[in-house]
């Protein structure tokens, strides 16, 4: 697993500001670095039949097109997909980076709809499983681009990330305070919340009754 969490707020802000061409160039450099660190991962992807995966971070203006297989690999920032990729994965940047680094279970994220996958899944399953084999640390690989200034860059980026997280929290609190008085409590939402509480209480009670009944041999026996 990756030791440090990727500074996703900083990355998101930077990627939102940078032009697509610069983002593509940076992505190529990071890919080249990752290739040196994970030769088996890249060999596996290169040996795959040619495939294109569209990556759509929902909180960024760019989309990305990852091409792998047929002995080549590229990642480009694009305004839109000129051809339909084999599959598209969509989600917040934080979720996509966590998937890449293996910190998030992709199936659970898919079940919960934190990520949406469309298209044919063969290429995306191959990519997921190839990434699962290697423990990729995207932040560390990006930091390597700074050479001897790596440690200083890391400190600066993490400080900026903390600052952005703090500013974001304050903005959220201020927003909530401004709108608190105008928010009307929905009677339907309150009713649903009450029903949900009752449902959980009843579920727990039924479970306890089932366990007791089984112990007494009242249910669970073959009939």
């Amino acid at each position: 697993m990756a030791e440090t969490e990727f500074p996703v707020l900083l990355a998101g802000n930077m990627l939102s500001l940078l032009p697509a061409a610069f983002t593509t160039r940076s992505a190529s450099l990071v890919l080249r670095r990752l290739e040196r660190q994970h030769p088996r991962l890249f060999a596996t992807l290169a040996a795959h039949p040619p495939a294109a995966i569209g990556i759509e971070p929902t909180d960024l203006p760019h989309r990305f097109l990852l091409r792998f297989g047929g002995h080549s690999l590229s990642l480009a920032a694009v305004p839109h997909f000129t051809q339909t990729p084999n599959a598209i994965v969509r989600g917040r940047l934080a979720a996509l980076v966590a998937l890449l680094e293996g910190r998030l279970d992709s199936d659970a994220a898919f079940f919960a709809r934190d990520i949406i996958v469309t298209g044919n899944t063969e290429a995306i399953v191959s990519l997921r499983n190839a990434l699962e084999r290697d423990e990729v640390d995207l932040f560390a690989s990006a930091l390597d681009l700074f050479g001897p200034g790596r440690r200083m860059a890391r400190r600066a980026m993490l400080a900026l990330e903390r600052g952005l997280a703090f500013a974001r929290r304050r903005a959220v609190l201020r927003h909530e305070a401004l709108h608190a008085e105008r928010q009307e409590k929905s009677p339907l939402a309150a009713h649903c919340a009450r029903l949900e509480q009752e449902f959980h209480a009843l579920s727990a009670r039924v479970s306890r009754i089932e366990v007791l009944a089984r112990r007494r041999g009242q249910i669970g026996k073959a009939t």
Binding site: A108, F110, I116
Partner: protein, 330 residues
Amino acid sequence: MTRYLELVSPAGTPAALRAAVDAGADSVYCGFQDSTNARNYPGLNFDADDLRTGVAYAHGRGTRVFVAVNTFPRAGDPGPWRAAIDAAAKAGADAVILADLGMLDYAANHHPGLRRHLSVQAAAASPLAIRFYAETFGVSRIVLPRVLSVAEVAALIADTGIEAEVFAFGSLGTMVEGRCYLSSYMTGRSPSCDGVCAPAEHVSYREEEGQLVSYLGRVMMNRVDAGESAAYPTPCKGRFSVRGEERYLFEEPTALNVIPLLAELKSAGVTALKIEGRQRSRAYVATVVAAFRGILDALAAGKPLPDTAALRAIAEGGRETFAAYAKGWR
């Protein structure tokens, strides 16, 4: 500390094996990169070198490694299955998990010192079947099918005296395992011989009218609304229109979780708990193994049980069930 129950973890990749060992699994099971095991998905599984390295890592930390060779050889082509058993023995695996009679015979004759576990794929659920496997092929452990109640598990163990491993967490199949032909019928590839149910190259998802629609081949398996949990389009978990009502006909997309039943399973004489999910990520493996390790250690020490809310978040469909363990009907 006395072990409450043995914890057997899945590992689809070497990284998942390390995650399982580090999270506290007592044993790990894995398979090779071909149709000799029942999780033959692209990019998943081990080659001979991976297995050797994985066994060394696990043994160095007191964890055992079982190798699943649990599909059925295609007619006239037993070579890959025999090679897989040979490779498992050569890598120093602690057991092979087998389903096919021929492969059980091969392993018993060629590698008598290698423990043989009977896979759930063999669907042995009667004392007669279990005794046959134990007496004929020296099977040491049986992985019980997921169609038995706790009372039936207890009766089988008491009757046969066999070492039993039962499923504790993860995705559920339906009907009699090893004998399901739904995916074969729809895709031409067999879970029992090719090792893959709902193969990835046949699975597609589309967004249609605000819903996520899943297909297996050309057959629509499900459509879910924006707020609804998504699921794999495995045939047994498709939502079908039956007598004008749309519902899950065979099995709902839920995950088994037996934590509330652990004391009963121990009383029933169960030896080991199996976690399903070699196709899942190393994050899943680390989360589930750590949660069960915490629970089992707390039970062994008589301490309060730790919170396991994290398990629901990674359960298939975001829901959990006791499945057949608590079903009163038969």
